[in-house]
Amino acid sequence: MRHFEVSFIVDPVLSGDEVQSTAKAYCDMLSAEGAKIVHIDEMGLRQLAYPLNKRNTGLYYCVEFATESPTMIAKVELAMKRDDRILRFLTVKLDKYGIKYNEDKRAGKIGRKNRKEKPVEVVSRPAAAVPPPPPPPPPVVVPEIAASEEE
């Protein structure tokens, strides 16, 4: 089973129900073609970095799925290309680290990847701090006693 991830942007002009049904239609299409839906991530309304079809915002969806026959992806992509409710789409094959990353993200281990790493860096620094100074050398009295004993 290979894991894939398809991200698409739905037109924000549509009503809430239409957006839901559009996303659901593609999930159903994937299931009908024999794919196992792992997770559907609704990223919600986001600002686009540049206008697409004269829209400045878009509703982002990301669907992770596993399939035995990757040839079915072409069918789904063709349907998305013909659909004017979809502004953009991208299908990506996930490697083992990508699968693990998505699992961790769902488990809440990665809230924001970069911000999670920064506290780790801060914590590790005091550990590598300067060790406590060695105890002061013993007093000079000792050689005197030793000298007196020799006498």
């Binding site: 942007i9 970095a49 982002y60 991208l90 680290y97 990353y101």
Partner: protein, 89 residues
């Protein structure tokens, strides 16, 4: 008149000091570069949205390739811009 204690350095001592660069992916054990995380990817592009070279970010070659792919995917999905000015304030 400044006293001797106030005059410590004739030149700024932080100039010319070499700060060692490192690959953040290797250091923190990050194996996957997410193309949907725009806040993370903006660390690897300049104000115009162009990819920064490895000699500035310190990323290793393996992860630089993955960062480049992730940035290109993000551009396609309008998460990052292709061309812009003042991406970072």
């Amino acid at each position: 008149m400044a006293t001797q204690d106030e005059i410590k350095f004739l030149s700024n001592p932080s100039i010319g000091q070499h700060k060692t660069k490192y690959c953040r992916f290797k250091k923190f054990g990050l194996k996957y570069v997410d193309y949907k995380d725009d806040a993370f990817l903006t660390q690897f592009v300049n104000e115009q949205g162009k990819l920064l070279p490895r000699r500035i970010t310190g990323t290793s070659l393996k992860y630089q390739r993955r960062v480049a792919t992730a940035v290109k995917r993000a551009r396609h999905l309008a998460i990052l811009p292709y061309v812009t000015d003042l991406l970072k304030p």
